[in-house]
Structure formats: structure tokens, C-alpha cells
């Protein structure tokens, strides 16, 4: 396996705030690499630097063997990008957008028609290709952007939140396309997401990112294995009492309150269930219900950060108002 992306202490600060902090990661050729983290974790900043849109404050990276600072043009020729926000010309037809892209990336004129036809087929937009894109639905626009990112046969395809704002059915479709594209074109895919299931379903390896740093990096299966066990979900009218019960009295440190329930990660879940209920009853705590499930990536994130990704919506709103402020200025 060769390394298609390598970063060397890649760092970016904005007005003294460190968005990406001395990042050292490498992406193998042919894999789907997921960057998972809450909004504001530094995922888009990382991708923007790898795509030569942003210059790093310090450190550097190599994409397809080219330095992102010194050889930006070669990097640009090696990559395809699907941005988080739409980036199509909706006054042109789908096909016209694709032709423009092919010309901007220097695809030989005699190959353009064939390549465009084949990517249109891949994302099932052949019959809408000659309609103005303003008549497309959100999901169709997204699919066309995916197709567009492939026309120039990039070595690496960057997908920044590829299914943000799409309905569940369309998300399923887009996931299918991403898998197919990777197989059909033998490319490396780097995607950012804050959807757990997306990272889990798509990625060969996942880097969990928080506050500009990678806090865990492995295959989805291995990441979940690090939790060593099952998650017990306890519902009670006094979750705080249950929390102190399991952590102090029972010595189970990996316990958190999630959505008003207490979730405990334990080694042997099945034998733990009766013991928890018993101990609770002894201490006059009434357990309303108790259940068991396999750990997911949310638990992994919780394990490493002590927070849930979704609980960070306040931070997300903070981020949005920061953007709004920047625009007003």
C-alpha cells in the first residue's frame, strides 16, 4: 500500500485560535478515509488545506506526492472536491456544468463526451442531463457534484459532508454511489462527516477529530472493540443517582448521562444487568427499564472526549453566528 496523503504537523490558526493542531495522518491509496467529529472540530479546515484552498500556518502535507504549498497546481490536478455547500451553476444544464469542469481540468476534448456520459450513468442522471440545474432537487444536485468530481479521473476525491441536509433515502443513494465510484475508478476517498452512521458505513478507516486533533484512528470495527464490551442503558427517574451508583458503588468508570439515560460501557453486559438492578434496589433507586446494545461510534467518541457529538449543538450555533459576524464585516 502506498501513501496517497501524508501530513506533517499540519497546523492552521485563525486569529490565535487553533483550528487544526499539528496533524500527522496518512491515507493509504484506495481506501475510504473518514474524518469524523463535531462541527468546529477542524475537519473542513483540514480538507481545505489539503485541497490548497487554505494555506497552512505551519507544517505541510503531500497529496499524490506533491507538496500542498509548493506544488499547489499539481495537487489541484490530482484531486476532485465536493464542497460542503453547493457549487454548481444553476443557470446551466447538468451536462454543461460537466463540460465546463472537464475543460477547467484539461480533459482531452475527444474523451470528454464519453467520460461525461459514463459519470452521468453512474449517478443515474442521464435523462435529466440537459435540463437547467435550477430545476434539480437537492439530492440530484449533490449527485451531479459527485459525478463532476470524477470527470478528470482524480487520484483523491474529497467529500466535505457529502450528505448534509439530504433526506435519509437520498443519503442511502449517495452512499451507494460513493462506494461504487471508489470501486469503479480505483480512487482514494477522503470524507468528512459528523454523522456516525455515515462514517461507520462508508469508511475503511476513521480518524475521530476534536478541537483540531486526532483523538483516535482505526477501522470502525477496531474503534468499537476498544470499548471492550457492551453498552447498558439504564432509565430511572433520578439519573444522577444512578450515575454515582454505578461509578462509585460498582466501580464502573465508563458511565455517562445521554438523553436523560445513564449509559455504561461494561465488559460482560448480560451478567451485569441483574447486578445493576439489584444494587439499585438496595440503594432505594427505582430502575424503570434497562437494556443492552452493541457499542457504536457515538460511544467511541463519548469514551475519548466525555461528550456526545450531538450535545455539541450549542457549539454549532456558536460557529454559525461566527460566520454571520464575518459576513457582516
Amino acid at each position: 500500500m502506498t501513501k496517497v496523503i501524508e501530513t506533517f504537523k499540519l497546523t492552521r490558526t485563525f486569529n490565535g485560535l487553533t483550528a487544526v493542531d499539528k496533524l500527522d495522518i496518512s491515507v493509504e491509496s484506495g481506501e475510504i478515509f473518514g474524518l469524523l467529529g463535531p462541527n468546529g472540530a477542524g475537519k473542513t479546515t483540514t480538507i481545505s488545506m489539503l485541497c490548497t484552498i487554505l494555506k497552512p500556518t505551519s507544517g505541510t502535507a503531500k497529496v499524490n506526492g506533491f507538496d500542498i504549498v509548493k506544488e499547489a497546481m499539481q495537487v489541484r490536478r490530482s484531486i476532485g472536491i465536493v464542497f460542503q455547500d453547493p457549487s454548481i451553476d444553476d443557470r446551466l444544464t447538468g451536462r454543461e456544468n460537466l463540460f465546463m469542469h472537464a475543460n477547467l481540468y484539461g480533459v482531452p476534448a475527444r474523451e470528454q463526451k464519453n467520460r461525461i456520459d459514463s459519470v452521468l450513468k453512474l449517478v443515474e442522471l442521464e435523462d435529466r442531463a440537459d435540463d437547467l440545474m435550477r430545476t434539480y432537487s437537492g439530492g440530484m444536485r449533490r449527485r451531479l457534484e459527485l459525478a463532476r468530481g470524477l470527470i478528470h479521473y482524480p487520484k483523491v476525491l474529497f467529500l466535505d459532508e457529502p450528505t448534509l441536509g439530504l433526506d435519509p433515502q437520498t443519503r442511502d443513494h449517495v452512499w451507494k454511489y460513493i462506494r461504487e465510484l471508489k470501486e469503479a475508478h480505483d480512487i482514494t476517498v477522503v470524507l468528512t462527516t459528523h454523522y456516525m452512521d455515515e462514517a461507520d458505513r462508508l469508511s475503511d478507516r476513521i480518524a475521530i477529530m476534536d478541537y483540531g486533533k486526532i483523538i483516535a484512528l482505526d477501522t470502525p470495527a477496531k474503534l468499537k472493540e476498544t470499548l471492550e464490551g457492551d453498552v447498558v442503558i439504564i432509565r430511572a427517574n433520578n439519573p444522577n443517582a444512578v450515575l454515582s451508583l454505578v461509578t462509585e458503588k460498582m466501580g464502573l468508570p465508563q458511565a455517562h448521562i445521554v438523553n436523560g439515560n445513564v449509559e455504561v460501557t461494561v465488559k460482560n453486559g448480560k451478567s451485569m444487568l441483574p447486578r445493576i438492578v439489584e444494587t439499585a434496589t438496595h440503594n432505594n433507586i427505582f430502575v424503570e427499564s434497562i437494556s443492552l446494545r452493541e457499542p457504536n461510534l457515538e460511544d467511541v467518541f463519548l469514551h475519548y472526549t466525555g461528550r456526545t457529538i450531538r450535545a455539541d449543538s450549542s457549539r454549532e450555533r456558536h460557529g454559525m453566528s461566527a460566520i454571520a459576524r464575518r459576513r457582516i464585516r
Partner: protein, 253 residues
């Protein structure tokens, strides 16, 4: 080769989008029509300028006005592209900013010249005498005039974040350039205050309008400068504005 194709595709996009916008093309008939018919006919009886009736006198000026307003307005496409995200697609492509700027600029200039052509068609309808050869001779001059003006619009737009602020700045520039160009009335000779004469002399559009008059009115017009001097001044103005515009696009994120 990649650069050339990038340039071509950006030029083609501007022209295609313009031709598709029927509302804009149809509405673009009206403003010059109002100037030529109401303003031109209204002042026709108030006297002659250099042996020409007023309608004939302002006809080249109205072409200059159409070129000016359309060119400056074209900057709006940069703001649209920023707003709708398409600018990102262009800016991260492996095409140099010089080609990106030139493609957009010359595409917008082409649109502006098409707008100028519409004024020619109106003139024929109004009975002003123009023949096809005059039009063909005026074509490259119109193009030369628009290069610099489009570059101003694109440069301003590359710094602006919203349509509103662009519109406000644009009207600040459009009207002085128009009124001080001699498009509607002569700004040289006795009786004209000296400051007005100076202001008109530093206005690049003055030379563009004079060149258009020389070509369209022929012998009947007594030019301010020889045609080649006018064209050289407009050309220098173009080069300066293109350099500034390219620089503005290079620093755009």
C-alpha cells in the same frame, strides 16, 4: 493548452448565460430607446451641435452609455458566483487566475458589445443612417472600450460581499463617467467651465465616445483627438485596469 481551454470555457459560459437571459435582453432595448427617442427627439429642436441634429449627436454617446452600464453591471456575476458557491469550483481548478480573469472579462465584454449592437439596431428603426460597414468598423472599438470598464466592475465586485453594496458603488461610478464623457453634450470649447473640461479629459470614456463618433458620423464630426490617439488612450486604460483586475482575482479566496 489547459489554460486556453479554461479561458475558452469561462468565456463561453458568460456569453451563454447572457443569451439565455431573454428578460435582460428584451429589457435592454428600453433604456437606450428612451434616451434616443425622448431625450434625443426632445432636444432635437433646441439646436444643432457641429452641424448635426441632436439625435445623431447622441447616438454614439448612447452606444457608449450602453457599453458603460452593461460592462459595470457585469461585475454582478462575480457576486452571484460567490453567493451560489460556483466561484469555488472555478478558483480551485488548476487554471491560473490570469486565465480565469481574462475568460470572465472578455466573456462579459462580448455581452456588453452585444448590448451595444442592440443600440445600433434601434438606430436603424429610428431612421438614423448607419450602414453595415460602419457597424463592423465600430465593433472592435466597442470591444476595446468595454475591456477596461468590465475590469473595473469585476475588480470592485471581487472586493464586495453583497449585491447591495456593489449596486451602491456602481452608481457612484456610472453616472459621473457617463455625464463627463461628452455622450449627451459637448464638454469642450468656450462657455464650458474649466473644471468640467478637465474632469472630462481624465475620463477614459470621453475618448471612447469620441472614437465612436469619428467612426459612425464620419466627415460630419470634428473629433477632439485623432482616432488613433483616442484608441491608444483607451488601450492604455484597458491594460492598467486588466492588470489591477488580475491582481484582484489573484487575492480572492
Amino acid at each position: 493548452m489547459t489554460e486556453l481551454r479554461g479561458f475558452y470555457t469561462l468565456w463561453f459560459r458568460e456569453v451563454k448565460r447572457y443569451l439565455r437571459d431573454r428578460v435582460r435582453i428584451i429589457s435592454s432595448f428600453f433604456q437606450p430607446l428612451l434616451w434616443l427617442v425622448i431625450f434625443g427627439a426632445g432636444f432635437r429642436f433646441s439646436g444643432q451641435i457641429g452641424g448635426l441634429n441632436y439625435q445623431e449627436y447622441i447616438f454614439p454617446g448612447i452606444i457608449g452609455q450602453a457599453l458603460l452600464f452593461t460592462s459595470m453591471f457585469m461585475g454582478i456575476s462575480v457576486i452571484w458566483d460567490k453567493e451560489f458557491g460556483f466561484m469555488k469550483e472555478i478558483l480551485v481548478s488548476p487554471v491560473s487566475r490570469v486565465s480565469i480573469f481574462l475568460g470572465k472579462m472578455i466573456g462579459d465584454s462580448t455581452d456588453a458589445v452585444l448590448q451595444g449592437t442592440i443600440v445600433f439596431l434601434l438606430a436603424i428603426l429610428l431612421g438614423i443612417k448607419v450602414d453595415p460597414i460602419t457597424y463592423l468598423a465600430a465593433l472592435p472599438v466597442m470591444l476595446l472600450i468595454t475591456f477596461g470598464l468590465v475590469s473595473i466592475g469585476l475588480t470592485i465586485a471581487s472586493f464586495m460581499g453583497s449585491l447591495e453594496s456593489f449596486g451602491a458603488i456602481q452608481s457612484f461610478i456610472n453616472l459621473p463617467l457617463f455625464f463627463l464623457s461628452g455622450a449627451l453634450f459637448p464638454l469642450t470649447g468656450p462657455g464650458i467651465p474649466e473644471w468640467l473640461q478637465i474632469a472630462s479629459k481624465v475620463n477614459p470614456l470621453t475618448y471612447g465616445v469620441d472614437a465612436l463618433r469619428t467612426i459612425i458620423l464620419g466627415e460630419a464630426w470634428q473629433p477632439l483627438q485623432a482616432l488613433h490617439v483616442n484608441l491608444a488612450i483607451v488601450g492604455v486604460f484597458d491594460v492598467i485596469m486588466i492588470i489591477i483586475g488580475t491582481w484582484a482575482f489573484t487575492r480572492m479566496k
